[in-house]
Symmetry: C3
Amino acid sequence: MKLITFLSDFGLNSSYVSQMKGVALSITDIKIIDISHEITPHNIREGAFVLRASIPFFPVGSVHVAVVDPGVGTERRGIVITTPSQILVGPDNGLLIPAARYLGDFTIYEITNTKLMLNSVSNTFHGRDIFSPIAAHILNGVLFEHIGPIITDFVDLDFGNFEITDNSVMGKIVYIDGFGNIITNIDGLKLRNVLDFDKKVTIFIGKRKLQTQFVKSYNFVKKSEMLATIGSSNLFEIAINQGNAAKKLGVKPDDDIKILFS
Amino acid sequence: MKLITFLSDFGLNSSYVSQMKGVALSITDIKIIDISHEITPHNIREGAFVLRASIPFFPVGSVHVAVVDPGVGTERRGIVITTPSQILVGPDNGLLIPAARYLGDFTIYEITNTKLMLNSVSNTFHGRDIFSPIAAHILNGVLFEHIGPIITDFVDLDFGNFEITDNSVMGKIVYIDGFGNIITNIDGLKLRNVLDFDKKVTIFIGKRKLQTQFVKSYNFVKKSEMLATIGSSNLFEIAINQGNAAKKLGVKPDDDIKILFS
Amino acid sequence: MKLITFLSDFGLNSSYVSQMKGVALSITDIKIIDISHEITPHNIREGAFVLRASIPFFPVGSVHVAVVDPGVGTERRGIVITTPSQILVGPDNGLLIPAARYLGDFTIYEITNTKLMLNSVSNTFHGRDIFSPIAAHILNGVLFEHIGPIITDFVDLDFGNFEITDNSVMGKIVYIDGFGNIITNIDGLKLRNVLDFDKKVTIFIGKRKLQTQFVKSYNFVKKSEMLATIGSSNLFEIAINQGNAAKKLGVKPDDDIKILFS
């Protein structure tokens, strides 16, 4: 199975996403899966989070093309990242790094071989003209050495640190999902070492302070009630059962969060 | 052809939809089609309607995974429904039932075999951890007896009754589509037995009363004019030619509707 | 590879898009790619632009089904257009014509053979009942002569003329993309003959006059600054670096644009 996934901030109303797919399909017969094309325009961190959250579930050998690329057309480099199991293609702006780190030891190749690009490369759309054809050529067996030189001075990106003590956790909001669930950078397994389900917690988030319960799943509180839980990506999150917590609390990614318990 | 369709209320901006697809593709090489991921969050009836409207057009052997699942993580069961032609997988909350009923005699299996699930099942995302892998294993030929026991006490759901007399019809709004067309639960073929095209009708909907015409298609009235017709799912609907009837009338699913004619 | 693309104004929240796909998959095993389903409802020109922008990147032999169809159910004809490389299927309302013209010499067949349609053709959804099955039958090798008669009196559509002089260009806005970039009908290559990158330009657009720079790519001005460039479809466009130019300027498709330079 030759599988390419696509992630971008292009939206689905324009022709851009389909142009990338058409280019890859013109090179080789592949299966295509969309991760998301509704990343907030130019928001590299959000794109990096969604990509990182998706890739654990894809088969070995998958090639992921990700394009959130405010630096397109400048000296910003294009890169291919090889890992023990999957391959990432996109701009050298941090977008691919959290996913690469999750996948294990990685090697980064700068894309310099113009023979692997579209004949005419635009200044504004490297997703179509460079990244998508490179992904298709990789699935056709091109040697990574032929893509370009190995680099080590890549642009890094992470989701910040979190601190767990015996009675508190401090971290950051990293993502708001489509339900309005507020997802943080706090590792769920580590949190479980110091905090049991069904305990009451006090949360400081944005300018608010709220009392809520740390529960196993959304439905362990009544409908429309606030709760804290560990979400499906094993991250601490704040939600409202069948409601929109982010809208209610007026918070956004990068806001600090502090949780107290006893 | 191994075909899985997906329907959910996840939206397309997060990683959730792609996680379900990655899981299925990691088990077997399948073709994937999206029905919709823009069901109103937690709206089981809306999901049930969209699923029911889609499945008549899919090939024999298709497996449909549907996830509108406000009860995830509680005692709510997961089920597989077999029918004479297609297979349905999802939560036991009514979501799958109108589609199952359309497809004919059906049998419901509770999903209990943990060997067919992801290794680690989260409390908040059974679409990824249970329903998607089950669908892939079904396409790989797993025996339905190995999924779990047959149950008969499933959660039921229907779109309500409608009444047709010689000069009136009473029913309910079941869905508003992307054009703002107002779709009811009133069967078009049965309505045609008592009402001919090009007749004038009086409609009571929400708090409004309106006079309009029952026509063959949107274009049989002038642009921006209200009309009544039989839509592509053979249901009575109210529309505005090239306009948004639901917005204009301020109605919503579950509102009653009464049509008078002479 | 049997490839069908779909473009429509149906949106992604309803069952309509999946119904079209299910119908095609019930006829033959095909690969399916979405161009877009978020065309503004009933906006034929916008659909024609997005289709025309996509098709240069698809493989020879692709079949494109496009449905922006306010005239469905009337005398409006359905057509298949053959070109030297790809095939177009949809309503005879101009939607397919700019794409057909780009692809070269084309021939138009009116769809009249009811054997190639669904058994029961609705009055409101020819995308599902006529265009999608026709596309599948074409990929199965049906002879074009069996679709229906050749016609020459098709409904035409173009994106208007533009005029380039030694110190000015006049044209029209044809499209606003998901970033808010304002795309015009002015050919980029021809413009480059009279205007060099890094020149200052004066632009009259809507009721506004603005001074900006004609640059190679978005990033050649500071963040949040206005710019003019040649976009990825080789058309002159106005943008804001990492911002939304259309929202800021309050312009829309079909507005006139005039560019002065010296």
